[in-house]
Symmetry: C3
Subunit: 136 residues, 3 copies
């Protein structure tokens, strides 16, 4: 596959955070679908109760492991959807992403992303879930 293009059109206001407006995936890509990941550690237990930053760290560890198992890397991610259960975690999530995302996408080529505050996830202690799509 030729490279994924990350596009931020001049006709749309510059992204107000660590995301881009468009990812364009050339024909012939292998698609990788990753289930919504939550802050469950390798031992099957939820980590970082009541701690959004700690939960984010585990969620992105899980996504990284899932990408690797599929033969993909962070640069292959073409979409993330993030679901929070508490409005007050929006600025905390933002701060975490601003600090940590450059580690995953060092060139600032952030994937398109959508952020929703929802009423609940599979379990009441889960504060964040992130679903991702990648193309190789």
């Amino acid at each position: 596959m030729s490279e994924i293009e990350i596009i931020n059109p001049e006709t749309v206001s510059r992204p107000a955070g660590t995301y881009s407006h468009v990812a364009r995936v050339p024909a012939g890509a292998t698609l990788v679908v990753i289930a919504g990941q939550v802050a469950i550690g390798p031992d099957g237990k939820l980590v970082a109760v009541d701690d959004i930053e700690g939960q984010c760290a585990q969620v992105f560890d899980n996504i990284g492991a899932a990408l690797e198992a599929a033969g993909a890397r962070w640069a292959n991610v073409i979409q993330t959807m993030t679901f929070l259960t508490r409005r007050e975690d929006v600025p905390r999530l933002r701060a975490w992403r601003t600090r940590e995302f450059p580690r995953f996408w060092p060139e600032g080529r952030y994937p398109p992303s959508t952020l929703l505050v929802v009423s609940g996830l599979a379990n009441e202690e889960m504060l964040v879930e992130v679903q991702a799509l990648a193309a190789i």
Copy 2:
């Protein structure tokens, strides 16, 4: 197309339910996008008012019909997203899936899936909506 790979990496805790962490779709697939399906029967009326299990049955009948119309089967599903409007339906949905999903995916090769509790769907009587993606 070569076969869809369903992957549950050893580095991520085993899925706590009828889903898998990753689906990997080889290049050259035909993609099938299915709109969020609700419990509307063939006559255009909502079925199973106030009954999450009855609504799930209709929703998955609709998805099955949509897959068939697109020339796909359950084994082709690479993602589902499930939206519930009542937190108390989470365990009921889980029980329904545990009972019924082996009929759709007899080998336990469940597609990646995301579950959200939301504030509402298109209409207040709808308790569940499921969106699916498939690859042929």
Copy 3:
């Protein structure tokens, strides 16, 4: 790529609005992923405070601009997901779509779509967010 097929199977109740049940994307498509768009104008400011119709107009302007930047047109859209923060905006969104969507999809070949009412978006003044997927 051969053309995207829009399918409304006879086995599923006719769509109750401006959407279709299935989009089938032939192999060999270029995929375009568009981040959830909100009612931010070109100057980076939210438009149409407390006005769902005005916010919809800006959101779809942004999606149109993103499609264009990726070399796609409305006919290439294969999925939209719409997120509202107020239940009372559901009929208003519906009315807006009924009025405006024929402009984007003049032949009535509406893409599959999912509508959710959620607890919040990135910022409390945002009333609507729309995420889209296209295939060229």
